[in-house]
Amino acid sequence: MIHRIRRLGRQGIEVLRALGRSGVFLFGALWGLPRPSEGLPLLIRQLYVVGVLSLAIVIVSGLFIGMVLGLQGYTILSDYGSEDAVGQMIALTLVRELGPVVAALLFAGRAGSALTAEIGLMKATEQLSSLEMMGVDPLRRVIAPRLWAGFIAMPLLAVIFSTVGIWGGMLVGVEWLGVFEGSFWGNMQASVSFVDDVLNGVIKSIVFGFFCTWIAVFQGYDCVPTSAGISSATTKTVVYSSLAVLGLDFVLTAVMFGSF
């Protein structure tokens, strides 16, 4: 009995220690930016890996989600004879919720897990400690560019996701099912507000990008340097990021759109 309680306490302390380490780690990486002349090429390289290579999955998923929204919205709304409202339904769901959230989930699965595995392998093969040996701070050289690349790429991916999704919805709604194009866009423009809907969605995706990249990079940096450790760190990245995204989404939605 005493043993169990002791183990529970030790686990709690471990969790708090990991949180503390991740905080110190984040602080060190954010404020330890390298000089622009050497940092910028590193950042661009990471933007390519994290952002551009995630583009394909984001565009394809966005297109299909938009098309499904168009189909479903049309079927439901045509029961009430108001299928003209399908445009505003697609736009509001995508811009407010699905764009930031699904893009962040895809980002965690595509880019986050890759970041964790890469940094974890660097740690396991002692590349990080040899960098330190050479007098190069791995936080600056390896971690900071990846963190910033994630922060920058995530909102852009979410915005692209929403745009492609709306286009896909228009494809199904207007071209295929024959909703009048004027009322499709007109209803959309009347009900979507730039500041309240679009900008709030962008803010959401910035927050998600911050947490997803932070979790991914920290899990890699903090993993047990064995092959089993890397695999469990990669799993943790995807699980923690998805949970963080969904939980934060509820909080942010309550703050932004809930009127209380």
């Binding site: 661009i44 933007l47 390519y48 583009l55 852009l156 692209i160 423009q189 309240d196 679009v198």
Partner: protein, 149 residues
């Protein structure tokens, strides 16, 4: 891959991201640059604001000319105080016009319809509508009908 190619592709990615944001701003939310600030404010008091919502439409002859800014309770008269932003280009609403709450369609949202008066002078920033007509309350109408009043 060469550094130059990577830089170019990342540049294209960033441009695509910002282009998507501009698309969301212009085409989806119908933001027209510069026009947002050119409005003036008028007030109206209703006995019953019904299902009127902030950011709802203010229209005249079916054309949208403004948006509802706030809906609050005036604690002296116990009426709903509605503040509207009207496009600055519509600067000749007669002062004896009346504001009427209407419903678009059978189940649609409620909006304010401005019924034009005949006065020579136009409403200015900060003016209030003298005559208003409250939201049509279906429940109240049925109960009035049932009780024979």
């Amino acid at each position: 891959m060469a550094q130059r190619t990577t830089e170019f592709i990342v540049g294209v990615f960033m441009v695509a991201g910002f282009a998507a944001l501009v698309f969301l701003a212009l085409q989806v939310s119908g933001l027209t640059p510069g026009a947002a600030s050119d409005t003036y404010t008028v007030y109206a008091r209703f006995n019953d604001a019904g299902g009127l919502a902030v950011r709802g439409r203010v229209s005249m002859a079916g054309v949208t000319i403004g948006r509802i800014q706030t809906i609050t309770l005036d604690q002296e008269s116990f009426q709903a105080q509605v503040v509207m932003d009207i496009d600055a280009s519509v600067n000749n609403i007669p002062t004896d016009s009346s504001a009427i709450i209407r419903t678009s369609g059978l189940l649609g949202e409620q909006y304010i319809d401005i019924s034009v008066g005949a006065d020579e002078t136009a409403m200015q920033n900060g003016d209030a509508f003298y005559s208003t007509q409250s939201a049509l309350n279906l429940e109240r109408m049925i109960s009035n009908f049932a009780s024979g009043r």
